[in-house]
């Protein structure tokens, strides 16, 4: 068993929303190995961002929201950590970048001020040293005029630039794990490509691991080595990217891939998955995808599928696959 940077075991999360408690994550498990980029893919509402927030212990409701399971980061269970301990880890050993670069930076402070604050929170160095470090990091993410950017306010920079700044900030204390929550979704396609290239290079140089969250299978296929597919708060398929994309086993993954418009297939109608993502509170027996599944069987509505492991650590939760073995 290889050493993992992050190991999520049977994580279950309940969130308070509109006065009611809803289970948003059901017993999810996955690992992140050193130096790899793991993709986390799913539609809106599948629980991707909640997973990220849970790992960072930034859920509204704090620790109380995590009702079961473990989050093992470098062997230590984060669920048991105090807020002070987590503060020391966040930004230093573990960092996160967000989807909306336009609103993710404080508008009334310069980039420099915010950057130096972050660095000095985690490193006991002088302000001059921190400024130098920040400038170096800005150069490392290929920002053309790092001094000028350092003195700018966020509103003076474009979305792509801000995202570069965020990446620089995230990497500044050399974290072992970087969580990127849809970092390119809000950007133009050309800028997207640049940022992805930057991410790939940064990871290669620093040997940190990345959890890359997206709803875009295309991006995931370019960037990630392994991928976990989420649906309705569960991980339904999980394994090496090439295997899953070329030969998906779970009906949902198949349908997701099938619904991507492809110029080569020349089909006239766009296919979509019938039905909608289940209401978060809905208590369901059996497989959570079965109402929309084209290949469902009788047992699917009655019992939750047992996890199946195919070669190369390909994990699936599906009765059809179980039966085929």
């Amino acid at each position: 068993m290889k050493e993992t940077i992050l190991s999520i075991e049977n994580l279950t999360v309940d969130l308070l929303s509109g006065g009611e408690i809803r289970r948003v994550l059901h017993d999810i498990s996955f690992d992140v190995f050193p130096g790899e980029i793991l993709g986390l893919v799913g539609e809106s509402g599948s629980g991707k961002s909640v997973t990220a927030a849970a790992i960072m212990q930034l859920l509204t409701g704090g620790n109380k929201a995590i009702v079961g399971g473990k989050i093992l980061f470098k062997g230590q269970d984060l669920v048991n950590k105090t807020p002070a301990q987590m503060q020391a880890i966040r930004g230093k050993d573990m960092a996160m970048i967000f989807q909306e670069p336009m609103t993710s930076l404080n508008p009334v402070f310069t980039i420099g001020t915010q950057f130096v604050d972050i660095i000095r929170t985690h490193k006991a160095i002088t302000e001059k040293e921190a400024i130098q470090h920040a400038l170096n990091m800005l150069k490392a993410v290929h920002i053309p005029d790092s001094e000028r950017t350092f003195q700018s306010y966020p509103y003076e920079l474009s979305g792509g630039m801000r995202q570069r700044v965020m990446i620089a900030m995230a990497q500044s204390c050399s974290p072992s794990l970087l969580i990127a929550d849809e970092p390119t979704t809000a950007l133009d396609v050309t800028i997207q490509a640049q940022i992805l290239r930057l991410l790939r290079a940064t990871v290669k140089n620093s040997r940190s691991s990345v959890i890359f969250i997206s709803h875009d299978l295309g991006v995931i296929s370019q960037l990630c080595q392994r991928v976990a597919v989420m649906y309705a708060g569960e991980i339904i398929e999980y394994g090496v990217v090439e295997t899953i994309l070329q030969d998906p086993k779970h009906p949902y993954t198949k349908a997701l891939l099938h619904s991507i418009p492809d110029f080569s297939t020349k089909s006239r109608t766009l296919t979509s998955i019938p039905g909608t993502v289940p209401d978060v509170q809905a208590v369901m027996t059996g497989c959570r995808f079965h109402p929309r599944c084209a290949e469902r069987q009788e047992i699917c509505s009655k019992q939750k599928p047992a996890p199946v492991t195919l070669p190369e650590n390909h994990h699936i939760n599906c009765w059809k696959v179980s039966k085929e073995r």
């Binding site: 960072m56 930034l58 966040r90 930004g91 909306e100 930076l105 404080n106 009334v108 929170t121 985690h122």
Partner: protein
């Protein structure tokens, strides 16, 4: 420097407002009353005095001529003569201005310090005890009549507990320090006179607290609302994700953003403090413009009343100008937009 540019841009509107203020005060003293001559000469003036006044002040001339005269006098710093004291109103106001300024400034300081702290407490402790206490204080503050709280405070802290004095600016046996600013606290410090500073401070406690109490409630509400809104924004989430300490997030990252709308409110608060000074100075026998005007009201001493009104309005306009400038200094984005 953009401050200069700002003033130049604002100058035309400022002049219009100043002019407007003078028109209003003119209208109030010359147009509204049934007999302006009586207003300006006093209720007890005899018929001959009235006729004399009418001619002297040109009250028989058309309105716009009267106004031009009025405005002309103002530009020369002439606000007429007080009926009650027979002194020029302008010099009397000048005499009493520093006392009011000191009271208002100290009240403003208290208002901001306590009000902002209460607001932050309420926002951070949202829906828990700190929030409830803060909101209770706010409610009581905006519901308490200033003249009543002043008297109650006087009864409790002066008569019963004998903690603080309740009239005047200094103990009667002390001489005021040499006038530099007219603010006894400052002048006392500059003159190195410890007893004066202490006495001035003691005399400020009750009136300034009363004045501040009403307004700090307003600030607390504003800050609470702003902070709650700011704390839910994305960049606060980013700050948390990077492990910044709670104190830094609340007191710097959130507060600087939350205080922006509060800055605008501060200008309005200052106006309310100026108005409230009328009441507070009367109750605590504080020798400022407020007490002066209340004494004048009893006599229906119009020149004095209108002089006061004009001075207060102009001060208020200038304060709001400064507040607006401060807002631009704090918010880099607004500067760009302009």
């Amino acid at each position: 420097m953009f401050i200069l540019r700002y003033f130049i841009k604002r100058l035309p509107r400022l002049l219009v407002v100043f002019w407007g203020v003078s028109v209003i005060t003119f209208a109030i003293s010359h147009v509204i009353p049934g007999d302006p001559a009586r207003m300006l000469a006093g209720q007890k003036a005899s018929q001959e005095t009235l006729t004399k006044i009418r001619v002297e002040l040109g009250l028989d001339r058309p309105i716009y001529v009267q106004y031009l005269r009025y405005a002309g006098d103002l530009l020369h710093g002439d606000m007429g003569t007080s009926i009650r004291t027979q002194q020029p109103v302008a010099s009397e106001l000048k005499k009493y201005f520093p006392a009011t300024l000191e009271l208002t400034l100290v009240s403003m300081l208290l208002t901001l310090l306590i009000g902002i702290s209460l607001g932050i407490l309420a926002a951070v402790q949202r829906d828990r005890w700190g929030d409830h206490v803060s909101r209770l204080i706010s409610l009581l503050g905006v519901s308490t009549p200033l003249f009543w709280s002043g008297l109650l405070v006087m009864i409790v802290f002066y008569k019963w507990l004998q903690l603080f004095p309740a009239s005047g600016r200094l103990d009667t046996f002390l001489t005021p320090p040499p006038q530099v600013t007219g603010l006894y606290l400052l002048d006392g410090l500059l003159a190195g006179d410890g007893r004066v500073v202490v006495s001035a401070f003691e005399h400020l406690v009750l009136p300034a607290s009363c004045l501040a109490y009403v307004q700090l409630a307003v600030i607390a509400r504003q800050v609470r609302a702003s902070m709650i809104q700011v704390l839910s924004l994305d960049y606060i989430r980013t700050a948390k994700a990077f492990g910044l300490s709670n104190r830094k997030i609340i007191c710097q990252y959130a507060l600087k953003n939350a205080l922006l709308p509060t800055v605008t409110v501060a200008g309005l608060i200052f106006g309310e403090l100026l108005g409230g000074a009328i009441i507070t100075e009367t109750i605590f026998s504080w020798p400022g413009m407020g007490k002066y005007v209340v004494d004048s009201v009893a006599f229906l001493d119009f020149p004095a009343i209108m002089g006061f009104t004009m001075v207060v309005a102009l001060s208020y306009v200038l304060i709001n100008l400064l507040v607006d400038l401060l807002y631009r200094v704090l918010d880099p984005q607004i500067r760009e937009v302009e």
